[in-house]
């Protein structure tokens, strides 16, 4: 079988022309303005006429659909219901056209008001030529489209949308686009319908396109091919023709709002592709050969059927039943049937999603994969269901589906992943756009006006999880995490990437709505994945090998971290994670990769994900007398990888208690409670806003901001040294500096500013200090000590330990034989010490001395005997 994706050389030389070629022939003869054959053709005439662009002459439901389009009956100038309704396709009359251009009077062709524009045509009879059953004036439509191709510039559209216009926008757009198409040798032209609408003279054409796509699209194909050939006369199309793929209709129809009015109109729906059939070879032309005389004949598909010739067509042969189908000389095209399901954002509350069948043809086949979010433009079809194909009895039911003309892959609800990530998957084979994808203009206006609010920061942070009470700083930190810093790539230095992702850890008393915050982040973040530390294994987080149920092949399935590449991975109950699981996070949180070595597969996967985690303290409630590492069952190296660590504590404070009680009591009153204040924005808008900022804005540090960062960092470091240098505490490390940079960038992103200003740095440094103040304060000294987080022991405690070691050794050396019972030593040591020494720290000191090889401990428990090994330790 030959498919159209093959190169011409694959075709047998005497194949009767490629199918596209026929279409060109057909159209050029048909629309040749002076051709008298246009009117003279009769319905029963040449079968070749039926060979058309697949999506326009669908053969999905076999005999039920045929060439019912008016183009196939070009000689029917009058509307006569008996004739035309003979074919069982959904009948069309002007009633389906909600707002017809000109009120249609059956039987009387209309004179167009735009005839004045018609300069090329002298024959007056042609100017009123309408396609049957429509208001389409062929000539007018072609002229206006040609005019559009010649003269449209991007500035037409941008002026309407108040976008900045660059000089190149003033140049005619389509010659440039066709030039591009010429270079890449494409045959599809994506037509952004916003352009048609922005160009004053094609408003009508746009409306016609939507209402009569079946008629207008071939006209456009024809026009643009002519236009193309006039630009590149030397180009040999090899009988092919350019195809218009219209998209970006002014409004998308919701799947469940598709109704009989939409039948045979061009519509756009959004949805999630859930199933796709394998590629079906769809026969376009059958090739028959006579077994006796080798006479060959081709038969085109007529209403989904091939009429097999019963006798040889050569008069001298005329054998009965001698014609046989030669399979590999038939003409096929690709076809695919897929199901598309509503996306969660449009399904009405309390209902389950619905699905629509769509047919994909030729180069649209396999563009979308199951699981993709698509924006599909196509012609909505309805075909009746017969009880029995041989009988006329019908059940008055219509099957509906969509013949697709354009597919756009979108992911609108969630924030878009960085385009940089997508481009890494290699150049897309399928061009779905003529420009870069943008947030629709109405949204953009809304976003820009929002960004000008003076209290933007507060509004956004309030809108984040509005049902959660207070916790303003935490919300602000999480907000900045959602925006993220700038990801930097260095070509020269050794480290290839600097992460821009901000990691946040929430720690605190149970019942302080940590989980709800995480759930909320998960909902609005791009590629958010929510997992609970308790349940997830290292495998569940990274990747696992599984057998594909269909192909029985081994496949590498991504785990939570890989799935959230470019997004936020929310991990609840972080502390409940097993050590092996946690260990993979070390790599993820700094290098942002995951190494997998399983079942013979060794690979490194990208996991450029921010982590938002929550953890509970060891003894379910936070012990204020212990430091963070002592309260948390988490290793210090992992803790230090979090940019922000928030303590959410349940503090007793009369005012806030009262506010909380009031809030809760109000919840139980029957009327709807007013949570989170009044001035908040919707989740959708917040998502869009974050999406927009993440995609459009990559802020760069300004000179002053850089200086300010240095100041802030130095100031933070100084806090540890202000006591004459006798005792050094680390109050900040380079990790904090990096965090500060990332947060300042995120803050600038939030303002939609391209440069990081001093104010951004101020806020970043404030948030960081607030967080440090909470989590890195040594409860014994009340001062900030980064060592707590970095090594788990405060410098104060370390000093204490050192002095204990010294005195212990001197004590040991006083015993005879340098050995002593554990119990006696502990007792003596405690007597000597001014402050009581607890068993834990005593054991620690012993352990560390033993490790250093200074003492030897033998025996078990309290019966241990301690012996000093070297007398030099005395010194």
């Amino acid at each position: 079988m030959s498919s159209f994706n093959q190169t011409p050389s694959d075709l047998v030389p005497d194949t009767p022309g490629r199918y596209y070629g026929r279409r060109t022939d057909m159209l050029s003869s048909q629309f040749e303005p002076s051709s008298p054959a246009f009117y003279a053709r009769t319905p029963g005439s040449p079968s070749r006429m039926r060979v058309r662009r697949s999506e326009l002459s669908s053969t999905l439901l076999g005999d039920d659909i045929g060439a019912t389009s008016p183009l196939a009956y070009p000689s029917t100038p009058l509307r006569s219901s008996l004739n035309t309704y003979d074919s069982p396709q959904t009948p069309r009359t002007s009633t389906f056209v909600r707002t017809p251009f000109v009120p249609q009077t059956p039987g009387r062709p209309l004179h167009s008001s735009l005839n004045a524009n018609d300069t090329q045509e002298s024959d007056p009879s042609l100017s009123v030529r309408l396609i049957w059953g429509t208001t389409v004036n062929i000539h007018e439509a072609m002229t206006s489209f040609r005019n559009f191709l010649n003269n449209f510039t991007l500035s037409h559209r941008k002026r309407q949308n108040n976008e900045p216009i660059t000089p190149q926008d003033r140049a005619p757009f389509y010659p440039a686009l066709l030039n591009h198409i010429y270079t890449i040798q494409a045959t599809n032209v994506n037509l952004d319908c916003r352009n048609l609408q922005a160009y004053p003279e094609t408003h009508k054409l746009y409306d016609q396109l939507v209402k009569y796509p079946q008629e207008i699209i071939p006209l456009m194909d024809h026009t643009i091919t002519e236009f193309y050939l006039s630009l590149f006369p030397s180009h040999d199309f090899n009988g092919l023709q350019l195809k218009i793929r219209p998209f970006n209709l002014s409004d998308a129809v919701n799947m469940r709002e598709l109704d009989p009015q939409n039948v045979d109109q061009l519509i756009t729906i959004k949805g999630l592709m859930i199933r796709a059939s394998p590629i079906i070879p769809d026969m376009k032309e059958a090739f028959f050969r006579c077994l006796i005389c080798d006479y060959t004949v081709t038969v085109s598909v007529d209403r989904g059927r091939i009429l097999e010739p019963t006798r040889c067509g050569r008069e001298s042969c005329a054998s009965e039943n001698s014609m046989t189908l030669v399979h590999n000389r038939c003409l096929f095209s690709d076809k695919q049937v897929a199901r598309i399901q509503e996306t969660p954002d449009v399904v009405p509350d309390g209902q389950t999603p619905q699905t629509v069948t769509m047919c994909l043809y030729d180069d649209l086949v396999d563009v979308g994969k199951p699981g993709d979010r698509l924006e599909v433009t196509g012609i909505f079809r309805g075909v009746p269901v017969r009880v029995n194909p041989k009988q006329r009895v019908i059940r008055s039911l219509f099957r509906t589906y969509l013949d697709v003309v354009h597919i756009k892959r979108t992911d609108k609800k969630r924030m878009q992943t960085d385009t940089a990530f997508r481009s890494q998957f290699g150049p897309e084979q399928y061009q779905e756009d003529d420009t870069i994808e943008v947030v629709s203009t109405a949204d953009e206006d809304q976003i820009l006006s929002l960004s000008e609010k003076h209290d933007l920061y507060d509004v956004l942070s309030r809108s984040l999880a509005p049902s959660i009470y207070e916790l303003d700083d935490v919300k602000k930190g999480i907000l900045l995490q959602l925006f993220g810093g700038t990801r930097k790539t260095f070509k020269k230095s050794g480290a290839p990437h600097f992460r821009g992702d901000i990691n946040v850890l929430l720690v605190g008393d149970p019942g302080t709505s940590k989980s709800q915050l995480l759930q909320y982040v998960h909902k609005i973040s791009p590629r958010g994945v929510y997992t609970s530390g308790k349940g997830s294994s290292a495998v569940g987080l990274t990747a696992y090998i599984t057998r594909d149920p269909d192909s029985r092949q081994l496949v590498l399935e991504s785990g939570a971290l890989v799935l959230s590449d470019g997004g936020v991975c929310c991990i609840d109950e972080f502390d409940k994670m097993s050590d092996s699981t946690r260990s993979v996070l070390h790599e993820v949180m700094e290098q942002q990769t995951i190494s997998v070595a399983k079942a013979g597969i060794i690979t490194t996967l990208n996991a450029r994900t921010s982590i938002c985690a929550s953890a509970n303290p060891i003894g379910s409630r936070w012990n204020k007398n212990l430091s963070v590492p002592a309260n948390l069952d988490l290793p210090p190296p992992l803790l230090s990888r979090f940019d922000l660590l928030y303590l959410i504590l349940d503090r007793v404070d009369e005012d806030s208690d009262r506010r909380l009680a009031k809030h809760l009591v109000a919840l139980y009153m029957e009327d709807i409670p007013t949570t989170g204040g009044i001035d908040i924005i919707s989740v959708e808008l917040l998502t869009k806003y974050i999406n927009y900022a993440r995609e459009k804005i990559q802020p760069v540090l300004s000179e002053e901001a850089g200086l300010k960062l240095v100041d802030c960092y130095v100031e933070l470091r100084k806090q540890g040294q202000d006591r004459g240098g006798s005792e050094k505490r680390v109050t900040a490390t380079t990790r904090q500096l990096e965090s500060m940079i990332r947060m300042a960038e995120a803050h600038a992103k939030m303002r939609l500013s391209h440069t990081v200003e001093v104010s951004d740095v101020n806020e970043a440094s404030r948030l960081l200090r607030e967080a440090i103040k909470d989590y890195a304060t040594d409860p014994k000294t009340g001062r900030i000590d980064m060592d707590l987080i970095l090594s788990g022991t405060a410098s104060h405690e370390r000093n204490l330990q050192n002095s204990m070691k010294e005195s212990l050794i001197s004590k040991l050396s006083t015993y005879s034989n340098n050995r002593v019972d554990f119990a006696k030593l502990f007792k003596d040591f405690n007597e000597q010490s001014q402050v009581p020494v607890d068993t834990r720290s005593f054991e620690e000191v012993l352990k560390s001395l033993q490790d250093q090889g200074v003492i030897n401990v033998s025996g078990e428990g309290r019966k241990r005997v301690i012996r000093i090994l070297t007398t030099t330790a005395n010194a």
Partner: protein, 551 residues
């Protein structure tokens, strides 16, 4: 009236002719003339809940009390009217709604302006509906006929069995076709009563060339019902026939607690908590926050050694005699109840959440009507390994208990649906499942003196529970002030005495209990005394829990 019931299509046809005289045919909607029938002539209309659907001939007027299981079947485009030649040779516009009969007509007699669409919705008889409720709905009950009807051997249908939440239970299902945007207001899990016309069972449609079978093709032989109108039976309307019982609230309350305690070793404290739980429902939904759901755990429930015999019992039947007795009492008090014995096998081999497989939404055990009492019996749980399905089921149960949401799985997407299920869990010791409140059963005074109350008494009990559950309630300003002050002071006192701080959760539990206690006494607003009563009640519960943990 009799024509309307016996010849519904002819009657509709007449209505249609009348309608045509002044309006266009697209807006034709006969629901208003049929809806009153459900009220006044209910007993004359065949109910699919009582009569096996196979016995009902085509084009008969029927009613069906059902739960919406799936709204994802989409719409169907059809010709709503066509020109028909009458015997005199005149062509006349004929109504072609509410029937599946094929038309012997040429397509050319159809005008596309009569093209219309109807929505297909999969409905099932209410899962977990108790026998007393069925009888109460069955207005013209005849034990003999009902007996015969129940004997009807039902051919098991693989597809419909998967779309019913409770495995291996008899049920009626139907694809209901809704006209004129009626389907826009229905929600999954909603309980409705449809009046409509029985159509032709679904048939396999010939689709040799689509290559992708539509989900509808799965449903061959499923009965079809053309809905003319429907009544909403959610919330307060889910009760068969509600009288007024508020005047004797205190006596009923006491009797009811006695009745419940008869299967709880006469433990009236636990019985009171059970009563409060039966009165609970989600009262406020706001941005994912739900107020009012109250999951009760009864710990210290008598254990039961699982025998070989028990293992053979079908899924979802309780075999611990103590929980069985308790469940029987719950059955007599509530319209819908479902029992889930938690066993390793049960968890691993059933599905709690609905999942769409091949575009067909298969039900899960927890896809139930709002207000259903779910009794989870943990006493029969033994050690063993949970497979993936079991873990998911457990998670689903947790979600329902904590958030009252149920996740429906669709290919590449998940939908969360709000639920309002009353979960009571029984356990021998500390429960594995989360709960809002746990109470220990005291088994000291277990003298068996179960008396089965009369049907009238039971009816009073049910009506009492049902009307209290949906009664209105508010908190006056000064009581609100009182509660706040009390909370603040308690926290202060706790800090001073270094005891555990009263938390947000505790306050929320108390507020919840306060509402339930107030309505159980027939009060519509909270008083400070009632709040104190609740705190006292909660203290008794805590004391018992503390005593238990110290033992």
């Amino acid at each position: 009236m009799s024509e309307q019931i016996e010849q519904p299509l002819q009657y509709i046809s007449k209505l249609f002719d009348e309608h045509l005289t002044n309006q266009s045919c697209t807006e034709f909607d006969p629901s208003s003339s049929f809806l009153p029938l459900l009220k006044d002539y209910k007993n004359q209309i065949i109910s699919l809940n009582e009569v096996p659907v196979q016995q009902v001939p085509k084009n008969t007027l029927v009613r069906f009390r059902c739960m919406i299981q799936d709204t994802g079947l989409g719409q169907e485009m059809f010709i709503s009217a066509y020109e028909k030649l009458d015997p005199n040779g005149n062509s006349k516009l004929t109504c072609y709604r509410y029937t599946d009969d094929p038309i012997e007509a040429e397509l050319n007699t159809m005008q596309n302006e009569h093209l219309n669409e109807r929505s297909l919705v999969y409905c099932i008889s209410p899962p977990g509906e108790n026998n007393w409720a069925k009888e109460a709905h069955n207005v013209n009950s005849d034990p003999l006929i009902d007996g015969i009807n129940n004997l009807e051997i039902k051919a098991p249908n693989q597809i419909s069995a998967k779309k019913f939440p409770l495995p291996n239970r008899d049920h009626t299902c139907s694809i209901v076709k809704f006209y004129n945007d009626m389907a826009e207001s229905v929600k999954v899990g909603q309980l409705i009563e449809v009046i409509g016309i029985r159509g032709q069972d679904m048939t396999q449609q010939q689709n040799d060339e689509t290559e992708l079978d539509s989900a509808l093709d799965l449903f061959s032989d499923i009965p079809v019902l053309h809905a003319i109108a429907f009544n909403n039976l959610n919330a307060i309307n889910s009760y068969p026939s509600l009288g007024n019982v508020t005047h004797q609230t205190p006596q009923i309350r006491a009797q009811l607690i006695d009745y419940i305690s008869s299967v709880l070793c006469n433990d009236t404290l636990v019985a009171e908590f059970v009563l409060l739980q039966l009165l609970s429902r989600v009262t406020v939904k706001n941005r994912g926050l739900k107020i009012g759901n109250f999951t009760l755990n009864i710990s210290g429930f008598p254990a039961h050694q699982t025998t070989e015999q028990d293992k053979k019992t079908p899924l979802l039947t309780l075999y611990n005699p103590a929980s069985k007795a308790f469940s029987d009492v719950l059955d007599t008090l509530n319209v819908h109840t479902v029992q889930i014995p938690l066993t390793i096998d049960g968890l691993n081999n059933t599905k709690f959440t609905p999942k769409s497989i091949n575009e067909n939404l298969e039900a899960g055990i927890l896809q139930l009507v709002d207000g259903t009492v779910v009794l989870v019996d943990e006493t029969v749980l033994e050690e063993g390994q949970l497979v993936d399905a079991g873990v998911r089921n457990f998670q689903a149960l947790n979600d329902v208990i904590l958030n009252q949401t149920l996740t429906y799985e669709f290919p590449y997407s998940q939908y969360q649906f709000d639920t309002d299920l009353n979960v009571i869990s029984l356990s021998t010791s500390k429960s594995m499942l989360p709960n809002h409140c746990s109470i220990h059963l005291s088994m000291n005074n277990s003298n068996e003196n179960r008396v089965q109350p009369s049907n009238e008494t039971l009816d009073t009990f049910r009506q009492f529970i049902h009307s209290a559950k949906y009664s209105s309630y508010d908190i006056p300003e000064q009581v609100s002030e009182y509660i706040q002050t009390r909370f603040v002071n308690e926290r202060k006192a706790a800090t001073e005495s270094k005891t555990e701080l009263p938390t947000q959760e505790e306050l929320m539990l108390r507020m919840n209990l306060a509402r339930l206690a107030a309505v159980s006494f027939g009060e519509t607003s909270l008083s400070a005394e009632r709040y104190d009563y609740v705190i006292n009640l909660d203290k008794q519960r805590r004391a018992r829990m503390a005593e238990q943990s110290s033992n």
